[in-house]
């Protein structure tokens, strides 16, 4: 399992602008590596340096030990096949003709027709990409997803150990995005290597074995998706605040960008408050993120590890108190939560459940101001007796009660104006 593609210290400059700065990367056989990073990071330029379209100003690219600088265009195109970003074709070539163009690197100039070997490769490529039925259709009459498959087929017909793909999923519907990446991953499984620029971080994380994060022409991180998609690496690269969570369906990371920005609203409150949020799930998670976004200082807990709100809070750097995902709530954690809540000027109960021990109510009762976010009725959330119901009703009398979406205004209302020191 040695590196098939090896890029070492590659630099590319356009005039004064350095687009790639001493980039090194290697891709092994059987490996699908995703190139991620913001627009203008140099992803496409790196692919161009690899497929030979743009000769690097410094550094070397080699495939299987052969250096690109030593290879002719034709020889290199037997090593690297490219699926271009823009597959729109305005010419009426038949699909089969386009796929057959992938055989160009393997042909002598004097060869006019198609050899038996060419035909076999084209046939295989059509079959693997499920484009056999399209073979006689005109390429300019296909949908974007179909066209993308045809260009993957062309790259396969090229019969190269390395597949380079530039944004193979851009401008495709979600179903086709998944279809194409699944296809590439399967093809890579057959002993090829794949390298794709993918702007969609979540798709990249889902389908690639490793990710390389590129920004400003420099590789910031390389490794398995879970290690690359971390706010610490993503935030400076994308110049935003990200929140990372685990996709409940695929189990791979999901990334929410602009976690600190809310469109159409003043982004920062003038008077930041300490707010403690009790309750997890979707509503708790949203409350924590919203408060954080406008500049408040939320804390949260007790949250079970693995709760959505737990991941949100952790990725935003919000102080939390946790208890294991299963089993009874850790009494020590409750005690710590009391410390956090005691420090807060507002306590938010985010559609909380009230258990037999009623610790959620304990946390609220001592607070100077309370906000109750209610979505479900109390009886759905109450797992305790009448005493608990009475306590909650008493809390309601002095609390600000709102729908979960209105948490910010409720916190403002509950806390009241900040006392200004009187002028003399």
């Amino acid at each position: 399992m040695s590196g098939l593609l090896s890029v070492s210290d590659v630099s590319v400059a356009f005039g004064e602008a350095r687009v790639l700065d001493s980039v090194s990367l290697s891709v092994r056989r059987g490996e699908f590596v995703g190139l991620v990073g913001p627009n203008g990071a140099g992803k496409t330029t790196l692919l161009r340096a690899i497929n030979g379209v743009r000769e690097p100003d410094a550094g070397t690219v080699s495939v299987d030990g052969d250096r690109q600088a030593d290879c002719s265009a034709k020889a290199w195109s037997r090593r690297v096949a490219t699926v271009p970003q823009d597959t729109s074709v305005s010419f009426a070539f038949r699909v089969e003709d386009v796929v057959e163009m992938g055989r160009a690197p393997h042909r002598r100039r004097t060869q006019f027709g198609t050899s038996e070997r060419d035909r076999r490769r084209v046939e295989d490529a059509l079959e693997l990409t499920n484009t056999v039925d399209l073979r006689d259709r005109r390429i300019d009459e296909l949908s974007g997803g179909e066209r993308q498959r045809v260009f993957v087929a062309r790259a396969l017909a090229q019969d190269t150990p390395l597949l380079a793909l530039d944004e193979p999923t851009a401008s495709l519907d979600v179903n086709h995005q998944v279809e194409i990446l699944r296809l590439v991953r399967d093809l890579v499984g057959d002993g090829r290597a794949g390298l794709a620029a993918i702007h969609d971080l979540e798709l990249a994380a889902r389908f690639c074995d490793r990710l390389a994060l590129l920004s400003d022409g420099v590789i910031r991180a390389v490794g398995p998706p879970e290690t690359v998609l971390r706010s610490g690496a993503l935030d400076p690269a994308f110049e935003t605040t990200t929140a990372i969570a685990t996709n409940p369906v695929t189990g791979t990371p999901t990334v929410t960008a602009g976690a600190d920005i809310d469109e159409g609203r003043a982004t920062v409150v003038s008077d930041a408050r300490r707010v403690h949020v009790v309750g997890g799930g979707r509503i708790g998670s949203h409350a924590i993120a919203s408060l954080r976004r406008v500049g408040h200082e939320p804390s949260a807990g007790v949250l079970r590890t693995g709760d959505v709100a737990f991941e949100t809070a952790e990725s935003l750097g919000v102080p939390i108190v946790t208890t294991p995902a299963a089993g009874p709530v850790d009494p020590d954690a409750v005690a710590t939560a009391h410390e956090l809540a005691g420090d807060a000027s507002v306590v938010v109960l985010a559609d909380v459940e009230i258990g037999p021990r009623q610790w959620t109510l304990d946390l609220a009762e001592g607070a100077p101001a309370v906000v109750l976010l209610e979505e479900r009725s109390l009886s759905e959330r109450l797992h305790s007796g009448d005493r608990a119901r009475e306590r909650y009703e008493r809390l309601r009398e002095r609390a600000t009660i709102v729908d979960p979406g209105d948490v910010l205004s409720a916190v403002e209302a509950a806390a009241g104006p900040v006392e200004q020191p009187a002028d003399d």
Binding site: A73, T82, P84, M101, G113
Partner: protein, 366 residues
């Protein structure tokens, strides 16, 4: 073998059509001749090269006689049908040379136009897009208007003007070893405009010979002889044969230059070669026939509608269709009691037909 069979089939059909229009065209003229007489006379004129000999002749260059190698080709004529002598003379020495030259020129323009359209990925491209025709016009008109300045004959002057212009446009559009086609196109337009001014100026200076110059500018095959054919045909055949192996590369280039590079085409080198070959092809044609517009523009479009975009098919069929088209239009041009320059006929017929295709949305992209 599908593509090869299709190419052979289409080429044979067009060759047959070409033979037919050549023969029919030869029956038309001030003296009406029957098709059988024309056919026999034409077959009698078919010569098979049977020997070569090299001799040293003299060519005068700028008034100085210079030794000049000459290749003499001996022909044998396999057919000897009996045909009335005057008819044979008319067919063989008057009509056929002109018709054959028309076919050769049309072939060159159709082929060069196909290459340029594919190369530029632009439906408005024609063989003269980088200024070949305008360059030839400068050479030709200068020879006509200022014969004292240019002593080596109209056709060489036109050829040199064409090649120099194409090369100048190429140099103007090239920077750092790369020649973007958009730059090439714009440089071509600018140079053509400039040379157009030069031609207009020369026309003003041409005095008595204005009519001759204008006639040349409109493109015509009047007075063509076997000498013109002998000079043009071999060059055009060689250039065309050199282009054919690049048909496949043209297909790949149509997908874009970056794509072509990833499919192993050395793009800049191939572009340079295609540009040189097709410019020479055009130059050889316009040097003998003058500026014949529209053939190289509409014929490739028409053939693309019929045979599709694959240049392995499109290149030979467009060239042959160009030959047929020019023979037909030149026949119309000379069938007129007052003979017209063929350039007028090609443009007058070609433009409305092109508009018809355009309106029917048959021609939108390449």
């Amino acid at each position: 073998m599908r593509i090869r069979r299709r190419a052979t089939l289409w080429s044979s059909a067009l060759l047959a059509a070409l033979a037919a229009v050549v023969l029919v065209s030869a029956t038309i003229g001030p003296v009406e001749l029957s098709l059988s007489v024309v056919t026999k006379a034409a077959l009698n004129a078919v010569g098979v090269p049977s020997g070569l000999s090299l001799s040293v002749g003299t060519a005068s260059f700028a008034g100085l006689p210079l030794p000049w190698p000459a290749i003499d080709v001996q022909y044998t004529y396999p057919f000897a049908f009996s045909v009335p002598e005057t008819s044979e003379l008319i067919v063989r020495e008057v009509r056929l040379p002109r018709i054959v030259l028309g076919a050769v020129v049309g072939f060159a323009l159709g082929g060069a136009g196909t290459v340029m359209q594919g190369f530029f990925r632009n439906p408005m491209a024609d063989p003269s897009i980088i200024g070949v025709s305008t360059g030839a016009a400068v050479g030709a008109v200068a020879t006509i208007a200022l014969p004292a300045l240019i002593p080596f004959g109209l056709q060489p002057a036109a050829f040199v003007g064409a090649v120099v212009t194409a090369f100048a446009v190429y140099l103007l559009a090239t920077e750092g070893g790369r020649t973007p086609v958009a730059t090439l196109l714009l440089a071509g337009v600018a140079v053509q405009t400039f040379l157009g001014a030069v031609v207009s100026f020369l026309l003003l200076q041409s005095g008595e010979s204005l009519e001759e110059a204008v006639y040349w500018l409109m493109g015509n095959l009047y007075g063509a002889g076997w000498g013109d054919v002998e000079m043009t045909l071999p060059a055009i055949v060689v250039l065309f044969v050199a282009l054919v192996p690049f048909a496949r590369d043209l297909n790949v280039l149509m997908l874009g230059e970056e794509d072509a590079r990833t499919l192993g085409i050395p793009v800049e080198w191939t572009k340079r070669l295609l540009l040189a070959l097709s410019s020479l092809l055009t130059a050889a044609a316009v040097a003998v026939a003058g500026v014949i517009g529209f053939v190289g523009l509409i014929v490739p479009h028409m053939m693309r509608l019929v045979v599709g975009p694959d240049h392995r098919l499109l290149l030979p069929t467009s060239a042959l269709a160009g030959a047929v088209f020019l023979v037909v239009t030149d026949t119309l041009a000379r069938a007129n009691p007052q003979e017209l320059p063929v350039g007028i006929v090609t443009a007058a017929l070609g433009a409305p037909f092109f508009l018809f295709l355009l309106r029917r949305r048959e021609v939108h992209e390449l």
